[in-house]
């Protein structure tokens, strides 16, 4: 019996809104024509029952756990209004509460949709080569090392390496860049990206939750609920505001004996706009960023971007292409070939960009360097030491090699000459002395200069470059890029110190790096920006703002978006506080009654959501540089 009544009362939300809307309109017309006639009252009671039922149900549920929520307060206000014969007020309040809640869900869904659409880009199936035939399985069922075939128009379902075929791949989901990238043998491809033309066979390296795409989704999902400081403050404020207003309702009711006034207090006691003012802006801002390859990790990060005045850049891989190449080799008693065999064998174990360039050079010359390397020692940012065939080798900068009591005087002139050209010299030595030197150079990215100008236009007052490279290499790039302050020959520790110093003058400092060897400075800055971070797990974890693509142009966008989100948040907060103040004053001076109170309350929530929705369409303002 009980269940039957329940199911009869359970009508679908849309039906409820429609019938309640019709009922409220009829009530109003009857009220205007007949005033409080029996027919009008019956119609109004129907409206109240239709509209208030969900609130009553929630209120009763909450009471079982002795929790007072807005539903209970509205329920009490509505019952109170009926008791004192204010049927129209009761009907209006319950209807507005129902309609408001309905519209809030619809509009909030819009602010959240931006992130939801990302989820929909997750691959749903993969075609694998298994037991000699190709079958379709779900992406989680693909095994590591298994071959996955992707045809034109299909979404790649795993992270892996292309082993056959070639295709142009739309990597917008991973990098935010819309131009397709050509992929062929040996290149990495990512889950969630789309083969726009061609055909590739991929050797699976990562599946499911381990793929870059999954990790991006995870970050975004975490970020949207990572609270801003202002949000915590607003929640605190609301948690005091509600009991105070309730107490006020009781006191005013007892003193003035004005039940209407007391009930009105109940209706305005839950400052909905205040509590959602910050989270709606943040979810919209983060959603917009995620669609442009910019992951901003939460509200607090947004707030810091809002006050950002200084940015420090890592040079290599950030302002420059990051792939230095070998431009000269000098040897002492060794063939270039033999020197490269040793250097490449040792450096192949290092991830430093200079190391990779040396390995690349050896590969380019088709040099085989499969020597057995043992006793590897890394000195971060300085060099490496290792042993091949019982001979100990040191490869690194001059300070590193000199530190081993190895005389580097023979290279003095060479190093001077190379460094004056902005090149970097890596010394190769054995215990008895220097056996060679490899000089390397890096080139500036073509987007760097423009990005720096855009940042200055966006209100960044100080731009510094922190690099482990020498003075000449640093200054060559700095001059081309338009950097304000250059610091060179820095170790990771020095960068951390430099950031502290810059902070003393400019308060909030961001560090921009590629996350390869600048994780400490990314972490120590107020804001760490990692560029091209789709390739590096560490960078994605450490950074506060992750620029998925390889392009610097996402940086000014990220800063504009952050600032716009903070502005939006502030507008919402000020508006919500204003509404709360006006409502309170209005109620005290008898300007605002029950239904107006509810109307203003619901409208203010909707306006706050609408304001946040503007962020979804935010684009970098066009600035002439």
């Amino acid at each position: 019996m009980h269940e039957k009544v329940r199911s009869m009362l359970r009508i679908n939300n849309n039906m409820r809104i429609i019938t309640a809307s019709i009922a409220v309109v009829i009530s109003f017309i009857l009220y205007k024509i007949l005033a409080y006639h029996a027919v009008t009252i019956v119609m109004m009671i129907i409206t109240i029952l239709l509209s208030a039922l969900p609130a009553v149900r929630k209120a009763v549920g909450a009471l079982r756990y002795r929790i007072i929520g807005i539903d209970l307060l509205v329920t009490v206000a509505v019952i109170g209004a009926v008791v004192i014969g204010e049927y129209w007020e009761a009907a209006a309040v319950s209807y507005l509460f129902l309609l408001g809640g309905f519209l809030e869900i619809r509009t909030l869904e819009k602010t959240r949709a931006s992130i939801k659409t990302l989820l929909n880009l997750a691959p749903i199936s993969a075609r694998v080569q298994r037991d000699g035939q190709s079958i379709i399985v779900s992406p989680e069922e693909v095994r590591i090392e298994e071959l996955v075939i992707v045809k034109q128009g299909e979404r790649i379902a795993v992270d892996g390496t292309v082993i056959d075929g070639s295709a142009s791949v739309d990597e917008a989901t991973i990098t935010g860049e819309s131009l397709p990238v050509e992929k062929s043998f040996g290149m990495s491809v990512y889950s969630g990206t789309v083969v726009s033309s061609g055909y590739i066979v991929i050797k699976t390296e990562r599946i499911g939750k381990d793929t870059t795409f999954s990790r991006i989704l995870n970050l975004v999902e975490e970020a949207q609920d990572s609270k801003a400081k202002t949000q915590k403050f607003m929640e605190k404020f609301a948690s005091f505001y509600t009991p105070i207003i309730l107490a006020l309702a009781v006191i005013v009711g007892l003193i003035s004996q004005d039940i209407r006034l007391a009930l009105t207090f109940l209706v305005i006691s839950c400052p909905g706009a205040l509590v959602i003012s910050v989270p709606v802006s943040i979810v919209a801002g983060i959603g917009n960023g995620a669609h442009h390859g910019v992951l901003i990790k939460g509200g607090e990060v947004m707030e810091k971007i809002g006050t950002l005045k200084a940015i420090a850049f890592d040079k290599t891989g950030t302002l420059t292409e990051g792939t230095p190449s070998v431009v000269g080799i000098k040897t002492f008693g060794y063939e270039e070939h033999d020197l490269l065999v040793i250097a490449a064998a040792g450096e192949s174990l290092s991830e430093h960009p200079l190391a990779q360039a040396i390995v690349e050079e050896a590969s380019k010359r088709n040099i085989v360097f499969d020597k057995k390397v043992s006793d590897m020692d890394f000195a971060m940012g300085k060099g490496i030491a290792f042993t091949i065939d019982d001979e100990r080798y040191w490869i690194g900068n001059q300070a590193f090699v000199s530190h081993q009591q190895i005389d580097t005087d023979v290279l003095k002139a060479y190093i001077n000459e190379e460094e004056s050209k902005g090149r970097t010299v890596v010394i190769v030595a054995v215990k008895n002395g220097v056996i060679g030197a490899i000089s390397l150079a890096d080139t500036i990215r073509d987007t760097t200069k423009n990005t720096i100008s855009l940042l200055k236009a966006a209100g960044i007052r100080h731009i510094a470059m922190l690099t482990g490279d020498n003075k000449q290499a640093a200054e060559t790039i700095a001059a081309l890029a338009g950097i304000d302050e250059v610091r060179y020959s820095m170790l990771p520790d020095d960068k951390v110190k430099a950031i502290r110093q810059i902070r003393e003058t400019y308060k909030t400092v961001a560090m921009v790096g590629d996350g390869v060897n600048d994780a400490p400075s990314l972490a120590s800055a107020d804001l760490g920006f990692a560029i091209g971070a789709a390739r590096s797990d560490v960078a994605m974890e450490t950074a506060d703002v992750v620029l998925l693509g390889d392009s610097l142009t996402a940086l000014p966008f990220a800063i504009h978006l952050g600032k716009a989100t903070v502005r939006n948040m502030k507008q919402n907060i000020i508006f919500a506080l204003l509404v709360v103040t006006l409502l309170l004053a209005g109620v005290l001076f008898h300007v605002v009654d029950l239904s107006i109170g509810m109307l203003v309350h619901e409208l203010s929530v909707l306006l706050v959501v609408f304001n946040a929705m503007r962020l979804l369409r935010f684009k970098t303002p066009k600035i002439k540089v």
Binding site: Y65, I67, I70, G101, I105, R112, D225, P279
Partner: protein, 71 residues
């Protein structure tokens, strides 16, 4: 102690958060509860010997909110 993340129906009113968190914190066996507003998720930590997901889902249902599933 078990940690679970539950997906709730889309939350629209901020006061739902306080209600659901408040109820769970009063529930025996629950040591931590956090409602994530934007993703409409619940992160909850509880003692499996005392309570379970089904009980919590039921309690949340009594409050008037639907649990859509576990994540």
């Amino acid at each position: 102690m078990t940690k679970k993340t539950l997906q709730l129906e889309p939350l629209s009113c901020p006061s739902c958060m306080a209600k659901i968190e408040g109820m769970l914190k009063k529930t025996k066996g629950v040591s931590h509860a956090e409602v994530l507003f934007n993703s409409s998720r619940l992160k909850v930590e509880f003692d499996e010997a005392v309570t379970d997901v089904a009980t919590l889902t039921n309690n949340i249902g009594n409050l008037g909110y639907e649990v859509l599933g576990e994540r």
